[in-house]
């Protein structure tokens, strides 16, 4: 049995979601069909839409199902950019410097192919965005800003961002929020935050892989990325993935995730890390964080070596940063926090979820000293 400490990458499906998925797979019917079978499936999908909408303080019509969180981010960034540039030129896209690739890459694509101007908002040493910098940017660029996109919490450090302040500063400028990591782990309300758009992902909350949500304010019409039958407000065509959507709603309805319990496990883990590795650094520890993510810098040890050695002891964790063709790259998140490259390449992400236990924490802490000693000598 492996010790799974990579819940931020994906977390096991909730048993209620597995049951809902397997039952739903047996039901025939395309929710767009007009006959009784189609209607029956549509009812399940719309029940799920209502439940999910309610869970995030949104209207059901604001919930657009997609194939992934990445797809939701792409539709939001590109679609809002195109919509905002359709009547007058608004080339500026502001994102935080620490966004996930699923936000940064669509922005970069618009820069390369459509003449957009991307401005990355700096963060402080705890990984929290600089609101004063945002104020200045909004003052300077005002009318030429297409959208602002800031994640609700960071996938590598778990640091929670001041989204309501971002929305207040933005004024009339649309704000998109990648809430993939935050959803169901901490307070998140689409309506209360006053967001224009948000992105969610099914498999981070105990639902299946292959379903995501774009939450988009009612009445907003943005160009589609995928054209076809006009499903999902004509923003995301394609047969609606009814079984996965039903399973996702079951995962939310019968969530087995306790923020309190997960935070206690992480606290225990970080205390343990400090005991066995006094020179280890917990990144972002001065800020509000999600309950389940711990970014740990272990000076003098290469993260990919640590990962290999932990894996050989059946402990699964992550460097947190993306791979390019499987090659670890320095994390742009940690670099943006002003952490030097050596420390960046010595950082691992441990993330805890609904199925994590104290025994998992104990096993990881027990393994660390030997692994770190070996990794330090293998530099």
């Amino acid at each position: 049995m492996s010790i799974y400490l990579d819940h931020a990458a994906t977390t096991p499906m909730n048993p209620a979601a597995i049951e809902a998925l397997t039952s739903a797979l047996a039901i025939i019917g395309n929710p767009s069909s007009l006959h009784a079978d189609g209607r029956a499936v549509r009812k399940y999908v719309e029940d799920a839409r209502e439940l999910l909408a309610a869970s995030i303080g949104a209207a059901p019509s604001e919930v657009i199902f997609t194939g992934s969180g990445t797809e939701a981010n792409n539709i939001a960034i590109k679609g809002i950019y195109w919509q905002r540039n359709s009547l007058q030129s608004r080339p500026v896209i502001i994102t935080s410097a620490i966004e996930h690739q699923a936000v940064l890459e669509p922005a970069h694509w618009l820069v390369e192919h459509e003449g957009a101007q991307h401005i990355a908002l700096p963060v402080n040493s705890d990984g929290v965005i600089n609101l004063d910098a945002l104020r200045l940017l909004v003052e300077d660029h005002g009318n030429s800003i297409a959208l602002i996109s800031v994640m609700h919490s960071n996938n590598e450090t778990g640091v929670i961002q001041p989204i309501s302040d971002v929305v207040a500063i933005a004024g009339d400028i649309p704000v998109h929020c990648d809430a993939v990591q935050s959803w169901s782990k901490c307070e998140f309300s689409f309506k209360d935050l006053g967001l224009f758009a948000a992105s969610l992902s099914g498999h981070k909350v105990g639902g299946p892989i292959g379903v995501g949500v774009l939450v988009l304010q009612r009445g907003v019409d943005i160009p589609a990325l995928i054209h076809g039958g006009g499903q999902e407000r004509e923003i995301r065509s394609g047969t609606v993935n009814a079984p996965s959507i039903v399973a996702l709603s079951a995962a939310i309805k019968k969530s087995n995730y306790s923020s309190h319990d997960v935070a206690a496990l992480r606290h225990s883990f970080e205390r343990g890390v400090h005991n066995v590795l006094p020179d280890a650094i917990i990144n972002g520890s001065g800020a509000d964080r999600l309950p389940g993510i711990s970014s740990v810098t272990i000076p003098g040890a290469l993260n990919e070596t640590l990962l290999l050695l932990l894996d050989s002891k059946s402990i699964s964790c992550s460097t947190g940063a993306a791979c390019t063709a499987g090659v670890h790259r320095p994390s742009h998140v940690l670099e943006a926090m002003g952490i030097d490259e050596g420390a960046v390449m010595s950082t691992l992400r441990f993330s805890f979820g609904a199925t994590s236990t104290q025994a998992d924490v104990d096993a990881a802490i027990a393994a660390l000293p030997d692994v770190v000693t070996r990794a330090r000598s293998a530099r």
Binding site: E304, L308, G326, V327, R374
Partner: protein, 357 residues
């Protein structure tokens, strides 16, 4: 033993890893990412540097049932192999980058890292054999003469040979493909890689020209008479006959060959075939691959190309230099090439050729 299997994404390294597992070793597969931008050095899927190759390697590791990681050796590779390749050509020598890669990357950086991490050695899909002796392992030719890669491994020192495991040395290539099929490895029929992995087209001269520019210079005969103009001296190789573009024919119509490349004056010297003949060579940066070479002369074979013939020779080793006297003259030998000494099928030593006569 705990072993790291270097997996290129090809059939050989996949079968080598599988055999190591079958022998009871604890094996971890590692793919070396040798280019920080996989499309920078090559495109297509003939080598070991593409994303597809790393996927093939990962898939093979999954089928074998071993963990798999990608190690970023792009900086080491660029510094030690690619830059060396360019600077050697610039100096008028003809390098073999595969030897450099084995010497500096595969069996140095990787083996060091593996050992420090608590592993005992590195498994590769090279066709070569090692033999245990009382003084440690010695390096030998593979039994398949067409695939034998002992030449490009002759840059390994004793310690590196002791940390290397070559499970394919006693098998012929055709049987490796059959074995790969039997093991369910999808790479069973993947074509062999050829040429230099970072020169996808096989056009070394064009590759060098793109990166180093081309400064035109004279092509002269042995008396210094200009016969033509070249497009960058480093794109020529000793013994080359084609592509010289000479307009002044020889008196008897016989072809001319590149005899010498003079990087300082940017001159290519050509002459008749017989002047290519070399009977003795001297090598520097000697690496002894097994037992020490006793003082004085010895009989053996010298090989100067990866798939060249073993040439009967007398050799000696003194003051760090390896000297060989060929029984029969050899045509077209460039400095920078590796000379590898064999005693029967055992690799004795290698050196980089610095003088020929």
């Amino acid at each position: 033993m705990r072993l790291i299997a270097a997996m290129s994404g090809g059939v050989d390294s996949a079968v080598a890893a599988a055999r190591a597992v079958e022998e009871g070793h604890e094996v971890i597969g590692v793919h070396l990412a040798l280019s920080s931008n996989p499309q920078k050095y090559r495109s297509g899927a003939r080598g070991c540097c593409t994303i597809e190759d790393s996927h093939d390697a990962r898939r093979a590791a999954d089928v074998i049932g071993i963990p798999f990681y990608i190690w970023d050796m792009a900086d080491e590779f660029h510094e030690n192999v690619v830059e060396n390749f360019m600077s050697e050509y610039k100096s008028g020598r003809t390098p073999n980058p595969c030897l450099r890669c084995n010497e500096k990357v595969k069996f140095a950086a990787v083996l060091d890292r593996a050992k420090n991490m608590g592993f005992d050695g590195v498994v590769t899909g090279h066709y070569a054999r090692t033999v245990d002796t009382s003084e440690g392992k010695t390096l030998h030719r593979a039994i398949d003469p067409l695939k034998d890669q002992s030449y490009v491994l002759a840059v390994l020192n004793r310690e590196q040979i002791n940390g290397a495991i070559f499970p394919l040395g006693d098998t012929e290539k055709v049987d490796i493909r059959i074995e790969a099929e039997r093991r369910g490895l999808a790479v069973a029929q993947k074509p062999d890689s050829h040429d230099i992995c970072f020169v996808p087209s096989g056009d070394n001269a064009g590759w060098l020209r793109d990166r180093m520019g081309s400064e035109e210079g004279p092509i002269v005969d042995q008396d210094g008479n200009q016969l033509g103009t070249h497009k960058g001296a480093y794109t020529y190789t000793i013994g080359q006959r084609k592509g010289l573009g000479l307009t002044v024919p020889t008196a008897d119509g016989s072809p001319r060959f590149v005899l010498k490349i003079e990087p300082v004056s940017n001159t290519v010297v050509v002459g008749p075939r017989e002047d290519l003949a070399v009977t003795s060579m001297r090598g520097e940066k000697t690496i002894i691959c097994g037992p020490d070479i006793a003082p004085g002369g010895h009989r053996g074979f010298v090989q100067v190309r990866a798939h060249g013939a073993p040439l009967p020779a007398s050799y000696s080793y003194s003051d760090g230099y390896l000297n060989a006297q060929l029984d029969e003259p050899l045509l077209g030998l460039a400095t920078g090439q590796a000379m590898v000494i064999y005693d029967g099928d055992r690799v004795v030593a290698s050196a980089t050729i610095c003088e020929t006569a």
